[in-house]
Symmetry: C2
Subunit: 159 residues, 2 copies
Amino acid sequence: MINNETVSIDRIIENLIYLHPLLSKSLTRSIRSKTNLNPGSLYILGMLSKHEILSMSEIGCKLSMPKPHVTGQVDKLITEEMVERLFDPNDRRIVNIRMTEKGKEDFKAIKLEVSQDMRQRIEKLNDEKLNALYDSTQVVRDILSDIMIDTKMTLCTKI
Amino acid sequence: MINNETVSIDRIIENLIYLHPLLSKSLTRSIRSKTNLNPGSLYILGMLSKHEILSMSEIGCKLSMPKPHVTGQVDKLITEEMVERLFDPNDRRIVNIRMTEKGKEDFKAIKLEVSQDMRQRIEKLNDEKLNALYDSTQVVRDILSDIMIDTKMTLCTKI
DNA sequence: GAAATTGGTTACAAAAGTATAACTATTTAT
DNA sequence: ATAAATAGTTATACTTTTGTAACCAATTTC
């Protein structure tokens, strides 16, 4: 399908660069208008809903947030009772974060709220395009989440 | 492949929500560190490289930027001589924006700079995954750019 | 031709994210 | 046991983006 690797990588990157503001448009704006959370704390919830438990540093690492920002966002989520701190008995420096049941429910509702505009647009797609979008977003997500996230914490210590 | 539409739409949206900070991570950070442009003005260049000529309002509409912000970002791009204003003879209120030759060259170089980290990660993929990512980003881009952008300007007058 | 609308700019305030340094508490290394 | 490194918080300054309102010039409407 592709005969020149460099060209295809350029194109992939161009696609991703183009995609980014498109997502921002739909998501960030409605997060702002429809919730009392910052986009940043929503991303933290997204990560937590995938990884169950993450330390403060891991959150900052995976989302590329500066540590002080993570602290602030998590504080907000805690006052909303959407996440809780778990102190690690093995290493008492580490603060692990986990979603509460309330957090999970709220997050589900928020996702529905936030994506309403996008949902309405996606719903208008015909089955063929819907399936294509489903498959493709899955592939992009899987591959990108694999290569973009530094699982080795050593790479993230500076953040 | 999918038998329940609602479920698949949920999943699509979840994928997109998850994808967003992943792209931010790689792109926004390096835009900041490697260029003297804001992410916002880079997105404007991205739109211009696809649409050739756009009015100020159209830019704000497609990127969901408030009009005053568009003015500021375009001003920056003009002082960098990367875009130029074209006054519309048919409607002298309209200010059309187009990339200069310098802008096109610079943008190409900036994209290369900005995506270096991402490029290195993508390069490590095997051919199969590379092809999958190529195809999928293309599909996501095509479909999303189709449904997310309000071509009817009437929907954007308030921005 | 007067009134309303539209495209764009200016000015200003507020929100969100980023960057840095200093600091505490804990753990690891020597 | 002391020194160095790590996890996290606090404080602060800064950049980027968002949101409003007021305004001008050009166009459209009636």
